[in-house]
Amino acid sequence: MSHAPQPLGAPVVRREGREKVTGTARYAAEHNAPDRLYGWIVPATVTSGRVTAIRTADALAVPDVHTVLTHENAPSLGETDDPILAVLQNARIPHRGWPVALVVAETLEAARAGAEALHVDYETADHDVVLTADHPRLYTPEEANGGFPAVRERGDAEAALAAAPVTIDATYTMGGLHNHPMEPHASTARWTEGHLTVHDSSQGSTTVRDTLSKAFGLDGSQITVLSRHVGGGFGSKGTPRPQVVLAAMASRHTGRPVQVVVHRRHMAALVGHRAPTVQRVRLGADRNGVLRAVSHEVATHTSRVKEFVEQAAVPARVMYASPHSRTAHRVAALDVPSPSWMRAPGEASGMYALESAMDELACALGVDPVELRLRNEPSAEPDSGRPFSSRNLAACLTEGARRFGWHGRDPQPAAREEGPWLLGTGVASATYPVLLSPSAASAHAAQDGSYTVRVNATDIGTGARTVLAQIAAAALGTAQENVTIDIGSSDLPAGSVAGGSSGTASWGTAVHKAATALVRRLGEGGTVPPEGITVTADTEEEAAEESPYARHAFGAHFAEVAVDSLTGEVRVRRLLGVYAAGRILNSRTARSQFIGGMVMGLGMALTEGSTMDPAFGDFTESDLASYHVPSCADVLDIQAHWIDEDDPHLNPMGSKGIGEIGIVGTAAAIGNAVRHATGARLRELPLTPDKLLPYLP
């Protein structure tokens, strides 16, 4: 091969693209084995209480049903880090939808029919499932998700708010949201001679292996978890989910391979959700719009199973300069399914509230909302006082305004019509932290001059294979076509999870380190032996090192909406994002990720929402007919641009994460545009016609 090395950033076509467009890429439930059994999860149909009896006779009498696993006959599991995985261990029902049995059968049809034929008796307890701003069970936790302190205070926010000439005090409400990757969570498990092999739809199979090792009391070397192709995750596959435990359990019990797929209707309860939030934001400013105080107080829910606190007030610690600040989280443990990570946990919710409040302040002051943000640029991270490794929010806002045609915008609300449409524009900022997790990688030079890089990265659609090949090739000084990349197996050098927009940075740092060491070895002279040369590296040290810098990606979102003056239906005509996210390593796949985040943000703004049913304790929108992820017709003109950043304080590639920032602030930009179009300041998502109708002409 005689390909020239390409610089990082080249728009290399994704490596597994051909397999995906031809349908040959195999996902977790597609590893057919002739003797495979099918497991069907039976969810609890009460909200709180316990199982008093499970009568399996009718289910077992269904032809082709092999086994019914319940808490009465399932193996005892060792304790893992995540209590949602302790399934079939006891009779307790912490929320509706909790698995009470697994019906295992020769065919999918029989498994489903067996599940229908299972009789479960319950003893029910009172339940409490609806979060309110003043819920009596709200408490202040130690930490919010991500290890952030629940409360941070600087100066005296209350006093500064009371003294500020201009204040905003607004409360923003969001129901639950669901990740709903297109591939439902699935696992196919098989035990052979004491070795457990699992195909799992996971964002990080090293973690899955470690978890199974604890649950089943095995050494890590006895387990292989494979996630070669994963049909999206958006956080919901970032931690092991019950199906992998159930598949492994059933396979051990039956001695045969078992495939378990979480039914789409069960996903709302079993694989996490973005927790609902009630967020009160108070801003105090002088008449020029310079902030004196920022207060962001978040109320959210968690389950009875575990504490997960959506860290929605955290971005307010990063965004704007103000001498006085209070950011705080409170949480109530309710009888609800366990919330979890969903694309940009914390930032997506929190920046909806903060960036809506900033727009309210701009309106109150009569200051352009882009200008208002520029006036509050901090010189260091407000909360920590650390200098930013790079912060180009101002450049994103300025560049975005130019590209979007923001200048000359008439701030007057409800002043533009085009036939039946009311038109408006809005802006919001975006931010997402730079994270790095320890990973290991190996780099191998073969005698023929080709290279193989191994790292347990996971490609959930990000293009990880492709960009890691680019990183390796750049370090090796070869063409990326010369590099074979092996990812998606826990037998490979341990990789961190594809989450927190940290995958490329974490795996890439390890790959770079291994490749660089290999180059050094090769440079020491001598010939490559027949078996080649392999060098391994890990980044425990780099990941543990505390940076003296505050490291975040920033961005700006601009939206133009058209509101149907008859029905209140909102269309986003244009959505434009400009990002400052370090060096972009593959412009083709990066653009796709940015745009994908913006599309999910559009859904968050307009179409998506999960209603907690007060009587039953489940989310009413439990299928894809009622939970409205955006359709193709919802997505019109979307553009993603970026600013070249040369930040030496990040990692060898100079990259920040890009998977999540596209959703951050998008809903606020759209909401602000809706306000500009109609005059209606709505503070509850999603902005469906029912909410707009009272404000239409």
Partner: protein, 329 residues
């Protein structure tokens, strides 16, 4: 899903005979709703009688100048049919506003009429529902009911009928032809679907074993214009929050003939006769249209969280009638 037998009859008579022999039989058309409900455990037939291959797949002209639509004509074919596009645009538009390209290719005319409510409680067999299991109660009334009925509901049921097509057919005064064990009969489409009353388990007036064989449209009123307007939560592939089918004839600034039906508001496509009474003979003005909508919607009894549907239906009605008037203009 329970095991079931499967039969493909060669004729309507055979289909009806097969059904008469098995009380647990269901007719299978495109399957887009029935198979869905079987997977949910809401329907569990012991025999499926596949009528999709019966020779009911033609759209032909009637002697009176109307159209005869076979029950197995697929939604996409009906929407594209020349005569439907030319003379009954409201029907074409309603079909195209519903579901997706894939679903319209499979769904049949008869099956579309008989699709069942998307009420979340009806679809979840772990919850009470008077429609699915009579006597168990209606949790929707006090529960999550934003998408449910504002007109014609009862203590026992607040479900809505999900079809777009049926709303257009209601406005067009279509007639549904049925074959059953006791012979043939015809029912106006406006009388096909019931209100729930105290027997919400029955969606329609179909008698046991009756098969829809065709839908007949009367000639389109001379000089009329028609349209279908639907509001929904996303731009495509979503059920109606509210919709309106309108057929209007305007002469010299006055409404000569008007026919109006609402979707998404009730247990059946809601023919708005009170509104039509106001419209007929009145000046074709926004004021008339609003008065007509109000006359119909005065009967609305919104639940705690779905009052917006009344506003939405009113606005859709006025908007649709204004647009038709402007076209007649």
């Amino acid at each position: 899903m329970k095991p079931f037998a499967y039969q493909r009859p060669d004729s309507v008579a055979e289909a009806v005979r097969m059904n008469a022999e098995r009380p647990d039989a269901r007719f299978l058309g495109g399957g887009t709703n029935l198979v869905d409900l079987m997977k949910l455990g809401v329907e569990s037939p012991g025999l499926l009688i596949d009528v999709s291959g019966l020779p009911l797949d033609q759209v032909t002209a009637t002697d009176e100048g109307g159209l005869r639509i076979g029950a197995t004509v697929r939604n996409s074919d009906l929407a594209a049919h020349r005569a439907v596009r030319d003379r009954y645009p409201v029907l074409s538009q309603a079909l195209l506003a519903g579901a997706s390209g894939q679903l319209r290719n499979a769904a049949t005319t008869g099956g579309n009429l008989l699709q069942r409510t998307r009420c979340p409680y009806f679809q979840d067999t772990s919850k009470p529902c008077n429609k699915r299991t009579p006597g168990t109660g209606c949790p929707a009334r006090e529960g999550v009911h934003r998408d449910l009925a504002v007109l014609g509901h009862s203590e026992d049921c607040v479900a809505t009928h999900p079809s777009d097509m049926a709303v257009a057919l209601a406005a067009l005064d279509a007639t549904v032809h049925l074959h059953g064990p006791e012979g043939e009969r015809a029912v106006p489409v406006t009388e096909l679907h019931r209100l729930p009353g105290d027997d919400p388990g029955r969606d329609t007036v179909l008698r046991p074993g009756e098969l829809i064989t065709e839908v007949v449209l009367p000639p389109a009123p001379g000089g009329s214009a028609s349209l279908y307007r639907k509001a929904r939560d996303r731009a495509s592939y979503a059920f109606a929050l509210a919709s309106v089918a309108a057929v209007l004839t305007v002469r010299d600034g006055r409404v000569q003939q008007a026919s109006l039906a609402f979707g998404g508001l009730a247990h059946r496509p809601w023919r708005a006769r009170a509104a039509e009474d106001v419209l007929r003979g009145a000046p074709a003005t926004e004021e008339t249209f609003a008065r007509a909508a109000d006359a119909e919607l005065a009967a609305a009894r919104p639940l705690r969280d779905n009052g917006f549907k009344v506003t939405l239906a009113r606005r859709l009605t006025v908007g649709a009638l204004k647009e038709l008037t402007a076209r007649a203009g």
